[in-house]
Symmetry: C2
């Protein structure tokens, strides 16, 4: 006699197997019975969010810290469509997501009833499934009882391996269908393996050989290194080789920035003085997990000759001019690191590279007066503590914080490629949840080893502009509802500053409502006398006021939710934003001229 | 020498030609130069909204009052995808929308540069264009200078005629291209005409003949009557014929509900006592602008035999069993009304129909104690004034307000078919804008006629539940920013009541944050001392408190923005919601059994 498990519980047990403890979403009549099954899986908790776009952002933020896809549950049509922009962002930036969508029952679909959430008589009710096709790796509609379990497994495995969103569509009549429970005894296969081992060998051996021969090697680890779980390997490679290291705008924090070998953020022509020269003078650049978008390459101004370049990517590797399609960097990097760690000398390590460390210039020494873009970001950098998770919204915060120097283990969440404003407010909820799960795990481990020392907890710090905040503000209420205590910096600079920098600085379309009382925000959303939830809010109009707040022990301790509003002049932009725009404009003009 | 006009201005001049005075949207780097052109067209004003989904809702709400599509401008990828759910709703419910999307320049698209807002290297940059295909009538990508003007005209005309969303994609390099300005001298052709005049004749003559022969005729005007501009014709038909009239949940307000011939909301088995019997006993039902979705037909429980039925729809008409494909009701209805008005006697009018008026039962006579669902909706009905625009959110408000009796000219906005919660908060902004435009027009007319009488202004009243409010709350800040003074009722009943009624009344997934301080909302968003904008907030926990507020002259006067929070028990539902759920469940079980 085989024991059975409901389809819904099977799905969520597989989710729990990934180490996931929280699911984000919004209920709707086509997913309610599915949520009943979720509530029966004790490893998982439900986090209801205010709307589906925010939920997608939260799942994305969760994935970036957790290292496995976030799970989002939405309802048919209205829910799944609202989430689309958030899912697409997780696709573009390889955050990954398992998007579970409740839909009408199979017979109702077959009958094409004109239910609410459909659009016209006799409509094919799977029409929305088709709309999401470009923003996912794969999907399944669970209609066939015989293949449901294997389809769930296939789709989740694809999502974990690819770090791209996947969709599981659940007709509401199938959630209780009994599936063979014994299948759960065999774990999911989520390990990234290159099927062409000969090709993998060649990449590994050739790279090792180039390392051996090089005299001025560098490691440039980009964001997909982090997204695909290669951050620790990249750090081990840096430690073993003692090569100079560089990050990109999107991967900032991938290396220990306090390390003497760390040379800063390489972003083509939009880099700090000396940084591009240093990297570009290498005779070997190991470029891992690259994402070569406009804002991550200084507007396509990287200058690394192919003859000096090893690209180790998620869907191909390339050594000089030879391309290895389908080879994933992760197994490659692991073998390279292990080889080198075994025998440094064989690879000529350490190298006698005489390149000087690229020092980060100090942009401002302000101690009083107006808060400027040149002052604020490096100052916030100095406010950071080891293990902090920091989110910077698309716009001035994102470009600005690139100037800061991070403590050793800082994790940055920012969306420089997809660049959807409002993203960080949702993503911050996900980061808070993932960080809490990680801490719980640490505590479990430390209590089981009878250690009494507390592991350092991660502060979660959100920096968002006033315009972006207005996109997704309600989700701050979820931080409060679920007892999280992030530090929120709101940059109040009178509208969409990034748009002003790009075009129409004085035009009305770049304005927003300036009537919001940010000081009242936490109270409105739940942190106030009467609810028993403490919140603290600050307004800083000059450097003195900000220094007072940043220097305060209670503020830095992050014991309750806190909001610090920072006033910056409307037309003040970070230098990187202005430089990026200038370069992009020039490069695009060139591209268009070439085209014409 | 021909005079020219930039592509951008040409587009917006065509928009202005429809009588539109305001455009909704969010700026983004791919639409900024297009917005420059918009700002040069003095007939139009830009209304920046907090996010794109809210913007789509606003454009939808605007269209429902204005009678022409609302215009939404978004930016490439992040913006257009965020709006999808709102556009789909405008599709399902025939609100119409002209969605203008700024996108990368043509040469950049051609080069497939890996710009921000794309998703992967070498991506076809029109991929998002394909995603929106199911939620629009037609679209154009303005790449070819020779056809741009005619493409703009074609797409706008299709949008106006069909009342379905249309998309105009504008590569950023084309906004300044000079087009022939003389083309604007020929107005757009937006008139709905049936190309098959013979078929139209047959529908008109057959219907007139059935009217002549009938002894118990009825008019059942559904929501597409309103959406396609037939409300006044339907009212003229009712006046001329003196037939009993019926609306549906979605079309409530289509007729003068104070008229002695109005018999209420026909919704199959989910109707007030006597209503369905009255309608179903007709020997002729003129069913105009029908939309036969589950919640608009009492869960598919209409009982009107084909032999008594004339369907006058937007894409077909049907007389008994004979279907006339492609015949639009609007020209048909116009001819029928004009024929009848010319000669009542020829059609046996007035009829000696002895059917009694269906009286609306009074559900509650509460004058004290807790506020119940049975009390609140008819009470709000009595609060309404002629010309009010009222929006009811999907959920208890939407089902509940169906019980109210409206003054003569009330306009209702509700989304019973698409049913996306949060919709009304955005739609209310659109309704406010359209109402303001209408009043300005009236004032212009009255001042030009040297009349001194003020035309009655429309109050705009929003009723939204606490859960739905959390979806889209930020847009209330736009009401304040743009000096609107709606009356907002917030139903505080501890979560998603409509979901609780459907499934899992006590389950945690139907909970929301109960920590929001609704009394602080208007202040947070801008209406407070210090901004010079007055706002008033009330909390009503029992009937006495609510009666005091509703009876107050200042509250009813709507001179400033006001919010009235109404506390209702968590598990109290309107009878229509419970009945609808019971019937739908039964009917769907039957459908599934038939299927099996």
């Amino acid at each position: 006699m085989t024991s059975t498990i409901s389809m819904g519980q099977y799905l969520f047990k597989r989710v729990a197997e990934l180490g996931i403890e929280h699911i984000f979403g919004v209920p709707g009549d086509f997913n309610l019975t599915l949520l009943d099954e979720l509530f029966k899986v004790h490893e998982l908790d439900w986090l209801g969010v205010c709307n589906e776009l925010n939920g997608a952002y939260a799942a994305d933020g969760y994935a970036r810290i957790k290292g496995v896809p976030g799970v989002l549950v939405t309802t048919y049509a209205v829910g799944e469509l609202s989430a689309m922009n958030g899912v697409a962002g997780a696709y573009a930036e390889h955050a990954g997501m398992i998007h579970v969508v409740g839909m009408p029952g199979r017979a109702v679909q077959e009958a094409r009833l004109m239910l609410h959430h459909t659009m016209e008589p006799g409509m094919d009710q799977t029409v929305y499934v088709g709309m999401a096709e470009p923003i996912r790796k794969t999907h399944t509609i669970l209609t066939d009882e015989k293949t449901m379990a294997q389809e769930i497994d296939r789709v989740i495995e694809a999502g974990v391996k690819s770090k791209l969103p996947v969709y599981i569509y659940v007709p509401m009549d199938v959630v209780g269908i009994p599936l063979d429970a014994s299948r759960l005894e065999k774990p999911l296969n989520t390990k990234v393996v290159n099927s062409n081992s000969q090709m993998e060998d060649e990449v590994v051996q050739s790279t090792l050989e180039l390392i051996r021969k090089s005299s001025k090697p560098s490691i440039l680890a980009d964001v997909l290194t982090i997204r695909h779980g290669g951050r620790e390997l990249a750090r081990r490679l840096a430690n073993a080789t003692q090569f100079p290291t560089y990050s990109t705008p999107l991967s900032k924090g991938v290396f220990d920035e306090t390390d003497s070998k760390y040379n800063g953020v390489y972003n083509g022509e939009v880099s700090f003085p000396g940084c591009a020269d240093s990297l570009e003078s290498s005779d070997l650049v190991l470029n891992v997990g690259f994402l070569l978008s406009d804002s991550n390459t200084g507007g396509f101004t990287r200058k690394i000759p192919n003859g000096n370049l090893v690209l180790l990517g998620h869907d191909y590797c390339q050594i000089h001019d030879k391309k290895f399609d389908g080879i994933h960097f992760l197994p490659v990097l692991k073998r390279i690191v292990e080889e080198i760690e075994k025998d440094l000398k064989q690879y000529g390590l350490p190298k006698s590279d005489t390149r000087a460390k690229v020092e980060t210039p100090v942009l401002s020494t302000s101690t009083s007066g107006p808060i400027t873009q040149s002052y604020i970001w490096q100052r916030i950098g100095r406010f950071l503590l080891p293990n902090d998770i920091i989110l910077t919204e698309s716009g001035t915060a994102q470009f600005g914080l690139t100037d800061a120097v991070f403590p050793a283990s800082t994790q940055l969440i920012t969306q420089t490629f997809w660049s959807s404003i409002g993203y960080t407010v949702g993503a911050c909820l996900g980061a808070l949840v993932a960080s809490k799960e990680a801490q719980k795990q640490k505590q479990k481990r430390s209590s089981s080893s009878t250690s009494t020392s507390d592991s350092p907890s991660s502060r979660v710090i959100l920096i968002v502009g006033d315009g972006s905040l207005q996109m997704t503000v309600q989700e701050i209420g979820s931080y409060i509802r679920f007892n999280f205590t992030p530090i929120i910096f709101v940059i109040n600079n009178d509208g969409y500053a990034i748009e002003r920098a790009i075009h129409g600085p004085g035009m009305g379309y770049n304005d927003i409502s300036m009537l919001w009382d940010h000081q009242a925000m936490l109270g409105f959303l739940g942190a106030r006398e009467g609810t028993g939830i403490k919140g603290r809010s600050f307004a800083c109009r000059d450097v003195e006021e900000l220094e007072r707040v940043l220097g305060e022990e209670e503020f830095a301790g992050a014991g309750c939710i806190q909001m610090c509003e920072i006033f910056i002049a409307k037309l003040d932009y970070p230098w990187r934003l202005s430089a990026q725009i200038a370069v992009s404009r020039q490069k695009m003009a060139q591209a268009m001229a070439l085209q014409a």
